[in-house]
Symmetry: C2
Subunit: 241 residues, 2 copies
């Protein structure tokens, strides 16, 4: 019997093999870790240590880190030292301004597209998941839900290139937002407030109101930014005495 007989090919369960490289998988893993807040702003990272965690040689990690350096998610803080981008008040404020421009624009685009019930349903689902996560104090899930909501929205309105740029901005501000988990009350208020604002955004999109959509997203970004800035001001004041 010829096992390669094409007439029985439908019986096969062969699936495309994974051709991705090790460095790609390391890169994606680090990226996700940064977005999930598994790294603190300013935290020092070591190529060899990461390689051990991933069970690879340092080589693929070096390449992945080189990419993250280009995206300003990791920076060289000294001659031979790497760290996650730290929180710097003025820098972060600037990133927030750029995010408002780009994400507001993406929201506008999503709102001006033809009505899409599947989109608004998905957005509502993501928003509900944030709410539910907050109630059981599952902050990881709340963070993930928030990210899913925003990216669903931007994917709808934006072209891939816009989404791509926004995602690198999230990569830079991700560890900073995630670090607010250290103050559970603050974190709860930020995202509880966000849920309300997201509802407004969904409403604006379902009504194809571009200005309202942009306004809602910008409010979401700015208000969480202000809370986080206060958080860091208080943190630095406490460590100052």
């Amino acid at each position: 019997m010829n096992t390669f007989d094409p007439t029985i090919r439908s019986q096969r369960t062969l699936v495309p093999v994974d051709v991705s490289t090790v460095q790609d998988r390391v890169y994606q893993s680090l990226r996700l870790g940064l977005l999930k807040g598994e790294f603190l702003p300013g935290e020092q990272v070591s190529i060899r240590a990461l390689a051990e965690v991933f069970g690879t040689s340092p080589m693929p990690v070096r390449e992945a880190v080189a990419r993250l350096i280009a995206e300003r998610a990791i920076e060289q803080s000294g001659p031979r030292t790497l760290r996650v981008a730290p929180y710097l008040a003025s820098d972060h404020e600037n990133y927030i301004r750029v995010r408002m421009q780009l994400e507001g624009y993406a929201a506008e685009r999503a709102a001006s597209a033809p009505k899409n019930p599947a989109l608004t349903d998905a957005l509502r689902r993501h928003n509900d998941s944030i709410q539910e996560a907050l109630e059981v104090r599952d902050f990881d899930a709340a963070l993930a839900g928030n990210q899913a909501f925003h990216f669903e929205l931007y994917r709808a309105g934006g072209y891939p290139q816009l989404l791509d740029i926004i995602s690198t901005l999230w990569l830079r501000t991700g560890p900073i937002v995630a670090s607010a988990r250290k103050d559970e009350g603050l974190f709860y208020r930020i995202f509880n407030n966000g849920v309300q604002i997201h509802s407004n955004a969904i409403e604006a999109i379902s009504q194809r109101d571009r200005a309202a959509a942009r306004h809602a997203i910008n409010l979401d970004i700015r208000s969480s930014h202000l809370s986080i800035r206060r958080f860091y001001q208080r943190a630095s004041a406490e460590s100052g005495h």
Copy 2:
């Protein structure tokens, strides 16, 4: 005599040594080459070949290329092949839209800043250099002058983070714009038109007219984009028969 006597320190001519790494210099060199149009869109690149040109081992080039891949200036077109990002009509159109958002915003910011004669002088100087370069058909110089004009403007209005993002967008569209040199007539018209628009932008900034500044920059971006799109349409039509 104590050579470290601080009272004679002013006699020293010591200067900070260059602590940059090889991979940094390779990265900057490749970046500049891409912006100057020394690579064609879609052109295949080889790590080993570049290493030979730079006179280094392949190692630093690998890291530099990894960064450029993260910036989408270089892409992996196959299992073991790298190339400069090629021209794709729809992708390029999307980048142009994002550029209009960001660079228009930066122009607005520059126009709303306090009057700055040094800035308008510098802009005028850059614009004149484009004009002069066009007259002697020095297209490299025209390209450099155009880049200097835009970046001077964005540096004035934008914060470093905004400039940074814009520069990565130029990195992606750079080889495409530069490739228009192959049609000298087209290239001349694009930049001659640009000089006029730049004058309008300078006027808008000196009058602190935000809307006019944004409009001028957006017109500059869009009109050169349309010309380049026609150029590629014609090129693909010619190669098609």
